[in-house]
Symmetry: C2
Subunit: 189 residues, 2 copies
Amino acid sequence: MKKSIGAKTIVYPTPVFIVGTYDENGKPNAMNVAWGGISCSSPPCVSISVREATYTHGNILNKKAFTVNIPSESHIKEADYFGIVSGKNENKFASTGLTPVKSKLVDAPYIKEFPLILECKLVNTTELGLHTHFTGKIMDVKVDENLIDNGNPDIEQIKPFLYDPSSRSYYGIGKRLKNAFSVGKDIKS
Amino acid sequence: MKKSIGAKTIVYPTPVFIVGTYDENGKPNAMNVAWGGISCSSPPCVSISVREATYTHGNILNKKAFTVNIPSESHIKEADYFGIVSGKNENKFASTGLTPVKSKLVDAPYIKEFPLILECKLVNTTELGLHTHFTGKIMDVKVDENLIDNGNPDIEQIKPFLYDPSSRSYYGIGKRLKNAFSVGKDIKS
């Protein structure tokens, strides 16, 4: 029996995207974003939602660029910190000791210590309400080369984690279950 | 050292959203969507990206409504099947034996056997390229009542899973790691 719990923002999984931007003075900032996901295959795009009140919001509109940085479990503390404080008040790279690297492709910094990063150019801005929905065209994906297996990033070595909006906590990635576009073929009539 | 792997749609995690719609004759359909995520807190919104070639695309535009259904691991085979065949050619509910339930709030069916469902009204449509990006206002969330703990859906009992676009496989949810908005406070200066 299903129970109504109201109009809440609860789905599984939601990501932990650390969004990298520069402010107008070139100060790098990073923000923790759980509202987002891949949004187009061609051109490859990723969308993120950010409140207007955030420092990141103005930075994206000014620079028309952002990075999406995927943290490993080993940086869960830094990732969470990026969602607690505002870049208006603190230099989050200085506080964490993480290293901003200037992208050669877009006007935004990526995080050297994080294993997988996407460099994005802003292509669409949609006002949805409390959040502005930004879509970036993915110009390149960069991965720590020791975490690549058979030419592709290896999720089991990268050890990303996810956000559970129901319990407001982070979960790891579990076991590999099945091949996609495969396990369902038995049902195909 | 980071290695460029090109402009690919690889992030972690991406979800397994099963999108429920009706066609113009009231036939229910379900499709597997990995490109999407929560996109606004107020009003609560979820966004999904769907190719124009799919049956779901026309259904959403016609009915201005869809549901997002989160499968448990126990339905991984059905979830994958929903991404392999088109509703143009098959009645996917008949093939799987799953039960479409007509939403009382939106003109779309949800899947009775899936533990968590979102009923959505279309509020924005953005053409991004190969994919159309649909944003739905979440009208209600319904959860199997035996999977609610302390008033909230319990991810550990729901057992959702995720899609890894790099290996094209499904992974389970791992261990609970840390509290969000908490573990990073140590860094706050």
